[in-house]
């Protein structure tokens, strides 16, 4: 009986401990709103967190450079969630993540949120697709000759068709980069009048097949290239610069980095899961705030900081991005005043 009483006591205490853990969880997330958490020494009047969901290619820039600079400049805290743009869009819509800002590669993932969650977005920068390569690969001399212009670029696509060539790319069904790489191959096939099966041969099967052994998670792809375990891989120019990868730059009419070629890019397309056809478009960075999200003022401040001179300087210093004149899509009166000010409206 004494054992039973002891057991009751222990169970009661453990239950209290569990409830305590739950409470600790709440207080922990609550404290993340403290600007001090981001190491910010800025205006202590501001409280709240800019909770930013962003395309994974921006991870280094946002976490190491932009987030801390924003916290210092504004006094708001910063928290980031990286992922493929489409995936983040799906998670925001499904309410499994609750950001107040969303930065996407391409405007489609924002547009798919619908007006209830995102009434407007601003296009402010672009990047382009490149072919990053492994300097220890047996094909490295050919890559270097193509990168330096000593050999024609068309030869790159013939090289990538070789049996045994280890190509890495991301999943076109979930990641804009995975699709951009395929659009680039399609555009190159047209531009250089390559045989019609070139793209299929390079990809080792149907373009959007998720069963391809070339497909990796984005983080795994970068690490495979850095570990020298693929010959070449798709990458954004910004990523290649940030990770100090060797890469082959591509002309603007196939690299999806120049908005003036939008019509040309739209000639490339793939059909992904769900029988949905996607067409090529410029690799722009688009930003919006999420309607109804917590700490909206912090989110507005983040977007304003991205568009400010200080924010644009950070992007320029990072390299790999082309800064565009910010272009608003959506009703101007829905844009918070702080952000409108940066747009000059």
């Amino acid at each position: 009986m004494a054992g039973m009483a002891g057991m009751a006591g222990m169970a009661g205490m453990a239950a209290l401990a569990c409830l305590g853990l739950a409470a600790a969880g709440c207080s922990s997330s609550g404290s993340s709103g403290n600007p001090g958490n981001s190491g910010g020494s800025g205006d202590a009047k501001h409280s709240g967190t800019a909770n930013v969901a962003y395309a994974a290619s921006l991870t280094y820039l946002n976490e190491r450079v932009f987030g801390p600079a924003f916290a210092n400049a504004t006094g708001y805290a910063y928290q980031g969630t990286a992922g493929p743009s489409d995936g983040l869009s799906g998670e925001i819509a499904a309410k499994t993540i609750f950001p107040n800002v969303f930065i996407s590669v391409g405007d489609k993932p924002i547009a798919e949120l619908g007006p209830k969650l995102a009434r407007w977005f601003i296009q402010y920068a672009s990047t382009s697709i490149v072919v990053a390569y492994n300097p220890a690969s047996k094909y490295a001399p050919q890559f270097e000759a193509i990168a330096s212009g000593k050999k024609p670029l068309a030869g790159l696509f013939t090289l990538m068709e070789q049996p045994g060539f280890q190509l890495g790319r991301t999943d076109p069904n979930t990641d804009p980069q995975g699709r951009a790489f395929i659009y680039m191959l399609e555009l190159a096939q047209m531009k250089y009048h390559l045989p019609k099966d070139t793209v299929t041969k390079i990809l080792g099967g149907p373009p959007a097949s998720p069963k391809s052994t070339q497909i990796f998670d984005e983080a795994a792809l970068d690490s495979r290239l850095q570990a020298g375990q693929v010959d070449a891989a798709s990458a954004y120019l910004s990523q290649a610069k940030q990770l100090h990868l060797r890469y082959i730059a591509l002309p603007p009419d196939i690299n999806l980095g120049d908005a003036s070629f939008a019509g040309q890019y739209a000639k490339a397309s793939i059909t992904i899961t769900g029988n949905e056809t996607k067409t090529g478009s410029p690799l722009t960075l688009d930003i919006t705030t999420i309607s109804g999200a917590k700490d909206a003022a912090a989110g507005d401040a983040f977007v304003a900081y991205v568009l400010s001179k200080a924010g644009r300087d950070l992007y320029a210093r990072q390299g790999g991005y082309t800064l565009l004149t910010p272009a608003l899509t959506g009703p101007a009166d829905a844009v918070p005043a702080l952000i409108r000010k940066e747009l000059g409206r």
Partner: protein, 287 residues
């Protein structure tokens, strides 16, 4: 060394020993209720994610997700790779666990530290490090290439990732199971003329079997749910955890959750069966 004095406390009020005054029935009932309520809260807190899964599933999402063409392919992939993983663990993990339990290795702490180190590494990091070990341009990768095999985005890669994620759980569990076998029983069998292999087969394994079954069941659950290392080395072929991840990204949470239910339904029976069998075997042994 002098024997320490022993204080004998006589049964008294509240201690409830034999011959002591009986605890009132009402208090006994209250104690029991408190114990059940306390453990119930702990149980519910631990089951929180499972409860959330069951309350957020709808029949329409289950039927639409699981009626899609190829919807059960990830299940088959996971079941097949999980079964192969268990085979590999039994074959390679059992001798290591036995040697660790019997202290048959020099510097035993070094060996144990090695197993613990692989347990402590986050699975994602294990996956990233596996790229350096088994990537196509590593010595192992070349060797596999000569055999027309590859450990990148293949069934082999999936099994390797699952083995690395689950092996420490099996080895440590099986080590504890072997350690619970009284070595004197093995010695007696040896004295009666049984060779070591026969002693192991007829004495050690049957006595350690309930604990080994539990270790294997935990390893199975770990292998079926393996994600961190898998997403790095085996994006394809798609097992259940990766299917949940890609479906979440492609079409959102409602279509991803049914796969989590499938994972639970498929992965749970083996651990439950092992648990029941293990508890019964222990009960029989106690008498």
């Amino acid at each position: 060394m002098a024997a320490s004095p022993v204080t004998v406390v006589p049964p008294g009020p509240g201690r409830g020993g034999p011959g002591g005054p009986a605890v009132p029935r009402g208090l006994r009932y209250a104690n029991r209720s408190l114990a059940v309520a306390g453990t119930g809260i702990i149980w519910i807190v631990l089951l929180g994610p499972v409860i959330a899964l069951l309350t957020h599933l709808s029949w329409s999402s289950i039927t639409s997700s699981l009626s899609a063409p190829g919807a059960f392919d990830p299940l088959i992939t996971s079941a097949e790779s999980g079964a192969v993983t268990l085979g590999v663990l039994l074959l390679l993990g059992t001798p290591l666990a036995w040697a660790l339990a019997r202290g048959a290795l020099p510097f035993p702490r070094v060996w144990e530290t090695g197993v613990l180190a692989s347990l402590l590494l986050p699975p994602l990091v294990v996956g990233l490090l596996l790229v350096f070990m088994i990537g196509p341009y590593t010595p192992i990768g070349h060797l596999l290439g000569d055999l027309h095999l590859s450990a990148t985005n293949t069934f082999l890669a999936l099994v390797i990732a699952q083995v690395y994620e689950s092996a420490p759980y099996y080895v440590l569990g099986a080590q504890a199971a072997f350690a619970s076998v009284d070595p004197r029983l093995e010695q007696q069998a040896a004295l009666l003329g049984d060779p070591p292999g026969r002693v192991f087969r007829r004495v050690t394994v049957p006595l350690a079997a309930p604990g080994m079954a539990m270790a294997l069941a935990i390893a199975w659950a770990r292998a079926m749910g393996a994600f961190g290392a898998v997403v790095i080395v085996a994006y394809h072929p798609t097992g259940l955890p990766l299917q949940i991840w890609t479906t979440l990204q492609e079409t959102g949470l409602p279509s991803a959750l049914p796969y989590a239910l499938v994972l639970l339904v498929v992965a749970l029976p083996l651990p439950i069966a092992a648990y029941i069998w293990s508890a019964r075997a222990r009960g029989r042994r106690r008498g």
